[in-house]
Subunit: 522 residues, 2 copies
């Protein structure tokens, strides 16, 4: 029987069903007029959970968090070029984290574009540098097939955010066809010749270091890393990574330091640097007279496999090739004593280590303060730690929201600076709306504290009153409890270690969103 | 005497001094590590007032508001590609408003770029489509000259935002040279042959309409428009424009309607459409089966001068050529009675008309609710009304902040939807910090109300629960009083017309920032 017009799908329906068939199960959306047919298509697709975000930077950050935890991409729904731009900084972060993500960017109907209506912009031009793949579904017939392509492109050749522009007429017209279910290229295993090369180089090296990222930071990868460590190789992670399994029962590699001069001191004497799942380390920023590439002079280097490879498999292959049978010792559970006195970043870290439940997820956008929590939790219960890999602050709360949607049975903890938190503070509202099980800890010091450090490090001179003002976010002090509660997230302030410890314990025992304003020194 | 190293300026200093010499007097900044030398250079430049913003979308929106009021561009300070992206939507709006603006985008030091550090991005690629002009100062020697070029390019050939990328080493190195003070091309006067052509077309037309924007919306332009109106030409403004002088003593042109079908009904019978300071009108969005170009069939059209021309001068020249001596009547002052009962958007409009002081500035991001305030204030005391010209909501509060910095002696009123307000709500903090004389009225209906209208208009079908959820921003309801006060702006809620009227009267009599949460029907 021939299909009638009524039987066929709109382009929006074909797109949404194709993505659902491929396993997409969450959509973080901030729709506008040009996306109305997508909204009604999502209405009919029960396999996809739609989460409304009040700002697109929340949507893209949440999609990043979702995929880091679920392993499958979420979709976002963005309103033309302006909506993409609002979500752009967290797309940059996701690209650096190699997180698969499918961004559906609504556009004007194709015949309307020529008229340069107010919201018209060169979406492809604006978005191309920020995406791994970008196409426009300029006909209704192409929507399903391009949705399949987008899904595949979000994984390979390198995972990351992709964009599919959907003109309004391609969404509303009938004639959509569902695209195929695609198998995604997984991470490549490393070439055997590189393993042999590494073995040869290690035979000559006295102080070898192996820098790891990617799948090497899973439990399986870390088990292989422990064998390499026992074989005499110092194993270090990149300073920032998308996600690492940590805590009791796991091998704990070192971490490359943030400040270039400290990293170089730490690496002093290294005569061979291998990298797996990453590239050779570089300084986050350049400083006058300081090195960019963090490789000691005269040190040999070898990238055993970049970000496109399965670094866990690389480490196992290397350990096998070296005959590394035994393992370095695993971390033993060790929880700090209850902290006391005025609250500090160290006390926050102690409480976090004490109370964080098994299998927690941490979203770290704590800038200068969260390092202490990172250190104390090394011997805590097993958990996953997620970091800001792209440097654009304002990722923490959205990432935590997405993680909570992906793993409703795991406790999510968000560590955020107060400066960082203000970028995408609208995430709190979506946490309340979705009853997301996220405890957000905001380090409140009323300061861009890291910039006070950086001002001196860059040699920009002694700050006068204007410069000091530019780095201080006090005057007025933001009331984080009122801010959080205004968006429906219960909140409390803690200025002493005792109060913080008790409140955190309570938050860990309960379900649902909560915010603790941790008053720490500036 | 030869200059010594110590005598010379850093690139950052040369850039900042050049802009100050050219008349730049405000900088809306959200700096990061790569901009530290700009921060200390601003510290030494007392002619530029630096205003810290907690989010870059606030900085770019404020710079837009500043220039719309001051007539001279402000500078912004953005942190690499991510900072530009965060400010991108309000740059889109500013580009559509033809607002001059100089965006200084910090970048990594040139030798550091090759290492692909986390914050590295293709800034030029990301920003080019959003700017009128974009260059990178890749050497310290070029900083001053390029700052002069940027200043000039922000005015001509068409005013708008420009971008100057400043690598950190170009900022920190000595050897900066101050660039010239440049004269800016002003808006072109219109070609006399187009005036003659318009006169000839008008001689044959029975129902001519003239669409105006740009300088035609100043008091001077409106005086010329009144002569054309008296001569039998219907004068209409674009639906959205950057700024218009309105109120008692001025000629009040009609306004093109927002919804395409209503606009077409209104224009029915028009046989000649002229445009000055703008182009032929188009629908904001496309809808299935509805027109894009808002020109009745068979209607002759003539653009007497586009956005690059001085439309006030065009109107005067046309009136002279037509021998149009008399004027249409000017608006008489007429203030509504005090409204009563439950608060509505109409009651907000009545109170605004009653209490808005002479020479007030209105920033309108009120989406579906502010039309009623627009209508009632037509006969109010003289004021300037500023609109969202690019369709990217989230402009209202930043624009109001910038306007208040430009005109500290004028009362600024911001009308914002609650959905729109949440995009750049961080602007409230800067208002508090700067003690900006802004009264923000948020229409609180817990809804993307316009989208509920648009869902039906686009024929996207009956909304199911997911679709309804995507258009509702209740659940949880945002507490705007708590939100505002958390950032230091005193706030009050008004649910009745009586309370609103009294609170607005109080706010108009006082100085400093205030927010009124106007609870209106959804």
């Amino acid at each position: 029987m021939a299909k009638t017009e009524a039987d066929t799908l709109t382009g929006a329906e074909a797109l949404v069903q194709t993505l659902a068939n491929n396993g997409v199960s969450a959509c973080f959306a901030n729709p506008g007029t040009s996306e109305m047919h997508l909204v009604t298509a999502l209405d009919k697709e029960t396999r996809i959970r739609s989460v409304l975000c009040l700002f697109e930077g929340v949507a893209t950050g949440a999609a990043d968090g979702f995929a880091r935890v679920a392993g499958t991409p979420a979709m976002t729904l963005l309103h033309l070029g302006a909506g993409y731009l609002n979500g752009g900084a967290n797309l940059h972060n996701a690209k650096r984290a190699k997180t698969p993500m499918i961004n559906i960017i609504g556009d004007h109907a194709v015949p309307h574009l020529q008229y340069e209506a107010p919201l018209t912009s060169d979406i492809k031009g604006l978005a191309e540098p920020n995406m791994r793949w970008l196409e426009s579904a300029d006909t209704v017939a192409s929507t399903g097939a391009l949705a399949s392509e987008a899904f595949a492109a979000s994984f390979a050749p390198l995972p990351g955010p992709v964009g599919l522009v959907l003109p309004a007429d391609s969404a509303w017209l009938k004639g959509g066809e569902i695209g195929p279910v695609v198998t995604c290229d997984v991470l490549k295993t490393v070439a055997p010749e590189l393993i042999s090369e590494a073995v040869a180089a290690l035979a000559k090296a006295k102080h070898p270091v192996l820098i790891i990222n990617g799948s090497a930071l899973t439990a399986e990868g870390l088990a292989a890393a422990a064998r390499l460590k026992a074989h005499g190789i110092r194993v270090m992670t990149d300073t920032f990574y998308p996600k690492m399994r940590r805590g009791a029962g796991l091998f704990a590699p070192d971490r490359l330091q943030y400040f270039a001069e400290m990293a170089m001191d730490d690496l002093n004497g290294t005569d061979l640097m291998l990298a797996a799942g990453t590239t050779l380390p570089v300084a986050f920023f350049a400083y006058p007279g300081k090195p960019s590439l963090l490789v000691p002079e005269g040190c040999e280097t070898l990238v055993v496999g970049g970000a496109e490879t399965d670094s866990a498999a690389t480490l196992a292959a290397l350990a096998d090739a070296l005959g590394a049978e035994t393992s370095a010792p695993m971390t033993e559970l060790k929880l700090p004593d209850a902290p006391a006195g005025p609250l500090t970043a160290a006390a926050v870290g102690a409480s976090l280590a004490r109370h964080m439940p098994e299998n927690a997820l941490v979203s770290d956008d704590g800038v200068s303060n969260s390092l202490l929590s990172f250190l104390t939790t090394e011997t805590a219960r097993q958990h996953d730690w997620m970091m800001l890999t792209g440097g654009a602050i304002g990722q923490g709360m959205p990432l935590a929201l997405g993680a909570a949607i992906a793993a409703p049975d795991r406790k999510v903890i968000c560590l955020s600076g107060d400066g960082a938190g203000m970028y995408t503070v609208q995430a709190l509202w979506s946490m309340a709306r979705e009853n997301a099980d996220v405890t957000t800890i905001v380090y409140v010091n009323h300061s861009y504290r890291i910039l006070n450090i950086e001002l001196y490090r860059t040699g920009a001179g002694n700050p006068g009153p204007t410069a000091k003002d530019m780095l201080s976010i006090g005057g007025p002090d933001i009331n984080w409890v009122a801010l959080s509660e205004s968006m429906g997230v219960p909140a409390i302030e803690a200025a002493t270690a005792e109060v913080f410890d008790a409140e955190l314990a309570k938050a860990m025992a309960e379900k649902g969103p909560k915010l603790i304003a941790a008053i720490v020194p500036g």
